[in-house]
Symmetry: C4
Subunit: 211 residues, 4 copies
């Protein structure tokens, strides 16, 4: 399996990053395509048409935050790497395949508000993407691609932070049939929980480098 | 909070730039999707169909200039940075969420020419984007991420130049209900005013380096 | 003919890479546009609508894998280069022209499932793209743009691996009229066959560097 | 006016490149959106539907070649630069605004085949883009941003090669009303003519470095 060093092969390392950034940028932008005003409403008032798109605006804002969070956490994963190998490159493809599904899942969500299945689909797509992201970290750990090996408490925090979105999105997918649109709460809860874990991780593992 | 140095972590610094550039590039390109000829006009003359799209061409040209200006001013902001931190990265996400709304605001504008609410929406989106951009500069200043600290008259000029688009776009959003399409003048006025401020800033702060 | 060295002219070398990565990222993302729920099905159940899009999901998954594989193999080609010249740059344009045809070929495939011609079109587009990729390697070899010259058994393996997708896609295009949707098997067979060739190539040419 | 050196400010220099590459990549990809099969033709044969899109395929191929040529020639322009300044950055915005118009001009062309006005529009958009590109070179020359100053015969060749697409596209725009679709010949003629000029330029200015 070929390996590309971050410094020795900057172009090769950078290309995976570039493809990923491109896909994130486009997925982020595709979300807005869902906001188009209904074309048949030419006689209706613009205020009414905008009010009708309010749920879509809400879904748009959630999805921008979700795609952004995935980008930032992929950013954090890559910043921990010293090298990439062919295996990690290959994992990138299905990961990006799931990221580009987010605009589709969002459009289902905003066309069928209140349908449990729409929430389950959204949770399933993001839960699977989180699983691949966690597997990438595990692969990088096992193959020695990380800058610093994951050991001790730090390793446990990385496991917990990788597992949080998997559990949360998959649980929301399953529970959507019981709790309906409240499944959104599972998604939104990821932000404060991850922020708490990140703060604890920094406190316990880098005692001398608080900002 | 993690920090990424421009030189020590070029990939990490560069990724935020890459995501941002990608979103700007796509937002710029999405603007053209608004220009499609009306499909039902197959029997009408092409000259007439093109003439009908003239207001859309005008809105397209304004929006290309606006997106381009936001890109150049984000470019100038980043060129002042020595580092990025997680806080600045997180601010990038809602900023980009607003940038991708520009093609939507433009399409509302060109589908409903003359409606004050369409101008108000456009001004509101761009006013909010300008507010986040100004907050990014403030955050970078406070956390010591700038290459050179902002002091003295230079700091005042940066405040004035950051505040100009906020005031101008938000004022146009509010006044659109009184002055209608003349709100565009508020947007167009930003270019000459910012050029004057930039010229004064250079004269007062870099007396020996005029080009 | 101008030549751009990887190290001496990083921007010029990088731009071809950036354009290519951008096109791959967009092609990957355009594939999802094919997944939109049928709009007229507002009264039908969401479960039914999703079940109806199952063949499209299948075509989407195949195409994500195909575009990803082309990206990884272009990545491997570029990692073998020491320089690019104008000839190689010019070859990139028709290559990218074929890559952006993949979402079109996929949409034909998912709108006309079971039509031999749809499979033939898909195979033809990808066979031609593979031919240009192989010609790029040949051009780089002949003009001395490679980091290490291709010699001995290694050269034969590169020929075999370059030829595999050409033969496989073009054969599927021709045979589609006889075997219908089984043409997909020719495409899927490329992955294990290439993996076997890559493993043999590493074993025979780099006896001391197995990971 | 701020200046960004290629080596001292690689991120700043690179961002203009990244935005430009992004826009080119998207413009290249948008061209394919024009190829969608007519949706109402579900009962017609696929072979017939594909045959009906043949003129669109032809327009697609021409436009891929045109966008690719603009990319390569912008690539060559940037490779001649030592620095960028704010003026050059600002010129990039209207240039990209015209590049993103190419998919629109192409869709007009393929929806109204045979209409002189469609050819005139296409020629006008590309003629204006060529004018801005030529002005960028002139600006870089005048402000001393070039790696090597343009002098002697080399300068004349650059003028001729910059002027060729301007004259050719604008002439085709004007003559389209007389010669109709033969205007395409003016566009296609640019490739061999520029290749001849490039060959002469190399022979006369770099007598010792033929490849």
């Amino acid at each position: 399996m070929r390996r590309y060093d971050r410094d020795a092969d900057p172009v090769e390392f950078g290309r995976v990053v570039a493809l990923t950034d491109g896909v994130f940028a486009i997925a982020l932008t595709l979300l807005v395509l869902d906001l188009a005003l209904p074309t048949q409403a030419a006689d209706a008032s613009l205020a009414g048409a905008l009010a009708d798109t309010a749920p879509r605006f809400f879904a748009f804002a959630i999805s921008v935050a979700v795609v952004g969070t995935f980008f930032l956490s992929h950013h954090e994963l890559l910043s921990m790497l010293q090298k990439v190998d062919t295996g990690l490159l290959s994992l990138t493809i299905p990961y990006l395949g799931l990221i580009v599904l987010i605009p589709f899942a969002q459009s289902v969500l905003s066309e069928r508000p209140g349908e449990p299945l729409a929430f389950a689909l959204y949770g399933l797509v993001l839960g699977c993407a989180s699983m691949i992201a966690a597997y990438m970290l595990w692969h990088a750990h096992r193959r020695g691609l990380l800058r610093e090996p994951l050991v001790g408490r730090n390793a446990w925090f990385e496991v917990a932070r990788s597992g949080l979105p998997i559990v949360s999105f998959l649980a929301s997918a399953g529970l959507a049939f019981l709790i309906g649109e409240w499944a959104v709460l599972f998604w939104v809860a990821i932000w404060p929980l991850d922020a708490i874990l990140a703060r604890l991780q920094r406190r316990e593992t880098q005692p001398a480098a608080t900002s």
